[in-house]
Symmetry: D2
Subunit: 341 residues, 4 copies
């Protein structure tokens, strides 16, 4: 059954046209897979964003990362910025499970390279996290190789959003958060390009929550009688595009992620580690020889900046509206945004 | 006559209490002075933010700078981040006038040190700029030593906002912009502190302009029949506080400036060089000997983050609502926000 | 038996006085432990630097990290720079073993907090790596919880250097590298402080290798008839001190690490991920309430800068001279510097 | 008369082949001009590095900047890193003269654009500085438009080194410093490229000074009986190349500048603001339309890294050996390195 998304509730976020699915996978070659752990003790999981159909370790993708709030534990970012590429899928999980997912990612690529008859002596897996300890017994680290491989194998174009995969135990604006996505189309020099966004949302306080500039958070708070929590928990934003951008230009693009977050009411709290990663499928780096990177004029970035911010805003809202009410560890509960709209 | 500010029009921005004047000068010791050039050819000027009553070159103030969009020409930022202090007032002017104002700032401090019998062989003046070329013949660089000294001498606590000083020729969301200010009070460990903000606004497109989340820009556009301009022009945000913060913590604080900008509809356009500078009057660095820097817990920064974003949002609105319609160079005109509210 | 170190061969590196052991552990509270894996297939291991006697997760240590060459996979760095503290020991291992050591570090701290009756829902383990694939079958990831715990339990003040722990499989200037250490004493405002350095060396080409400015590399090359290899493999430099420094000042200090590396002939090759981490035992951050950070004048940093560079230079040489000839995976061999001096 | 350079004294720095002149101008299109002020009160000047024959404001050059020690006042750096290009010549002068040279640079480009019928409403002049206050009455700012224009007009390929232009009043390792240059040739994928370096040297203490690893500083100190001064004063390093590099790759290249500095005995003292700027003439950015940036493999950067460090080392030595003994302001004197070799 098709999930109801924020646009299905009548909210129009921004003015740029959307991609076919309005998901990150509107960028050709991108797939997303989840594995969800849903037990009494654990509400958690892993989500993998696969950036291209072939092996990214062989022909790397131009990429950039941007640390908005460094209070987080994501791995692999510094090499992205040094070399301007990603060579791995992007894995999302919970904070204390970073190590096990990292090792599973290494194992997965070693096996793949063995099959493809490639030597692998070094590898930079990108593993990002949010802290789902409110609903999940986080010290009990239940995501390992089996779960990561399953998420990988389950990857599809038309993936599920909400309380799935790494999003299972996440909270957003004191409601249920998780995985959300959106996409936008921009035209530059008469060619159309796609910008896709996927978020793992786990941030924000209820009081600040906005939809299309409207203070839904204060309204919901009046109903729920919720105590104010400090904003914490992080958000990870993955941006895919087929725009001809250099790593520097991708860096500029993803620096606009906070605009979208601010529009839904984030104040980038102290405890909210916020990280953005962007890649383009357009500029692949070959293994050998000189090569050329296609670039648009920087003055043509205004459209992409605007479109990106819109997609981030909508992806956060989708992560909430697609999530169901969840009762987790220690009796903690997060209501769904659905109940209030 | 008292200027009408955005709160006087019935808009309540955020929920933190405001300082007495609701200006950056609510932080004790801070003063602001303007010199305005208003001729047929030139609509421009200089604004100086004086951070403390005594000489900042002698007892420097803990500070940080943050480059949101580096497409700008501000001077003095790299030394702020290397040493964690400012030793000069902060001067604001137009893009091509940076050199002359820089030299005037040097001259001013040399004269002051001569009077105070201090040796000065090096000095780091902070000069920031926005591009007022729409209303000002920017190639004609009319702000020099006389104008800078006059601005300095004119500095007061209850300063004017709007189309004055460096703000004379600036545009914001395709309306008249310029100098705006606001302040907020936060309580930490039972003590009240002030966060003050001053902006030189010169960014944004009309279509995106928001007040309290409401799309005033599209409404005004319907009236004005304005062509959409790309966002460009820059914004400078100066943050003063008396909070006990380290330079690192000030850096975290001013990284939240984009939240306030996003709330009024900025997308941090390609052409919009955006720079934030923050300082605290609480932690002064003596000339000799070891010293101690007072710090709050980072986990207590959530209040300041929130308050700062509110103050930035309100300061941008004040910069617009306090500005009059201006006819400038080449027949270009910016209407005042006042006409539409 | 006491290891022969570079000073025992008559080389005097620099002019600052050394600490008692001339090791990082001259900084009070610091200990170092190794676990070495030495099989036909694997030459690798783990080394842990424990920064203080009590639990760093409770009272964190002021710290900084500096990425010289981001072609590496170290974890935990971004949070160090965001918050200015470390809350974990520093673990060193090989590149592909990052994930398993990360998870072991998490497990270790969870167990410790359980014993100390502390809640732990988030944790930032610092795990750094070099690539020992020349001597070690790196895809076979043999360092897990047992090995990490053993290294921790084996920690001492007067630790072994050379081909031990994480250093077992490392190469330096095409000779055997690994763990090396040194320390220096600086006097500031009439008080003596210690700067200690520990390196995991795995970088450099033979041709460029220098001792005290003398081209030993070219001499050895003439004897060995070695093919020139490109510089790769990384170096991790851990700096401990009891100087009253802020996180910003520690950042400035460790930015001088490349001077020491250059003195032994490093050119910071493309493939050589180079990371420095520094912490001070002097400025601990309490769990609650405002606090003060002691700082020296930045103008007093010249001595520490000089002393640090000397210690880095000597630590690299100690990592080589303390290592024995090692025959590793695939028949690859690294000779010891001892054979040529 | 040809100047005697360090190679003419029998010192061979490094192993890479040199360009024809062994100067930055071996990169085709680059020229250098000086204007020297040599009065009783003032020993100072301005040096301009012109990056290309046509107007860089029109077709900008791919570029990067790197701040080694931010205790300096250079202007224009942040825009280089945001946009990855330079659009102006690079001007060198003394610390307090930054403002006047900045304004002269603006004036010069406005005049040029007028002549070439180009609109100019914004411009990012790069003006870098060292502090020559030991030999120059720095508060007396004698370099203005006339001097800057003269330097520009005097630009040539085979330029003078030593105590000329901005180098007139500079000191290096407590001897006379100033302008120095060197170049190296690297081969990548069977094509030869040039890397050229120009330094404005004004750093270092005598005690630490090295030539080819030999402690010349301590020898000279024994003769001179010089008091030890703390290292201060800065160095600016400009790197030109015709290598096909992206801005990110140029950034990696110029991060190796400290290796060359360390080889001559720099410890990057607290007071020594150190800045590197690099550009390539190979990748020009057109005014309109998409474009392609040529890049080499990052794994081919090892040669350029090595060659760059060699050129920096030699350029520093040339800046000293080409300088004459100078008696300056207040009776201060710097001896020439020539006297001791």
């Amino acid at each position: 059954m098709k999930q109801m998304r924020i646009e299905d509730y009548g909210f129009k976020i921004g003015r740029y046209p959307k991609g076919e699915l309005n998901k990150i996978t509107d960028v050709y070659g991108v797939k997303v897979g989840h594995f969800t752990v849903d037990t009494g003790r654990n509400k958690t999981g892993v989500t993998v964003i696969i950036p291209c159909e072939d092996n990214p370790f062989v022909t790397k993708l131009t990429a950039a990362s941007h640390i908005i709030n460094g209070y987080g534990k994501s791995t692999g970012l510094m090499q992205i910025n040094e070399l301007g590429v990603i060579e791995s899928p992007i894995f999302l999980t919970n904070t204390l499970n970073i190590g096990r997912v990292h090792d599973a990612a290494v194992e997965h690529m070693i096996m793949r390279c063995d099959r493809e008859n490639l030597e692998i002596k070094s590898y930079n897996p990108i593993v990002c996290e949010c802290n789902d300890a409110y609903l999940n017994d986080i010290a009990h680290r239940v995501v390992g190789a089996k779960e990561v491989f399953s998420a990988y194998d389950a990857s599809v174009v038309d993936f599920t959003e909400g309380d799935v995969g790494a999003g299972k135990g996440m909270s957003c604006h004191q409601l249920k958060g998780g995985i959300g996505s959106a996409s936008r189309i921009v035209r530059i020099e008469d060619i159309s390009y796609t910008i896709g966004v996927l978020v793992l949302s786990n941030h924000g306080s209820l009081e600040d929550f906005l939809i299309s500039g409207q203070p839904y958070g204060t309204k919901i708070k009046a109903i729920q009688d919720t105590a104010c929590e400090i904003e914490k928990g992080s958000i990870i934003v993955v941006v895919a595009t087929d725009l001809p951008l250099s790593d520097r230009q991708l860096g500029r693009l993803i620096k606009r992620v906070p605009i979208g977050l601010a529009k839904t009411g984030s104040y980038m709290g102290h405890g909210s580690g916020e990280v953005a990663i962007g890649f383009t499928t357009k500029n692949r780096v070959p293994r050998k020889g000189n090569y050329k990177i296609d670039q648009i004029q920087d003055s043509n970035l205004d459209g992409p900046f605007h479109a990106l911010a819109e997609a981030v805003e909508e992806a956060v809202l989708n992560s909430m509206i697609c999530s169901d009410r969840t009762e987790g560890f220690d009796g903690n509960v997060r209501e769904s945004l659905k109940s209030y709209i």
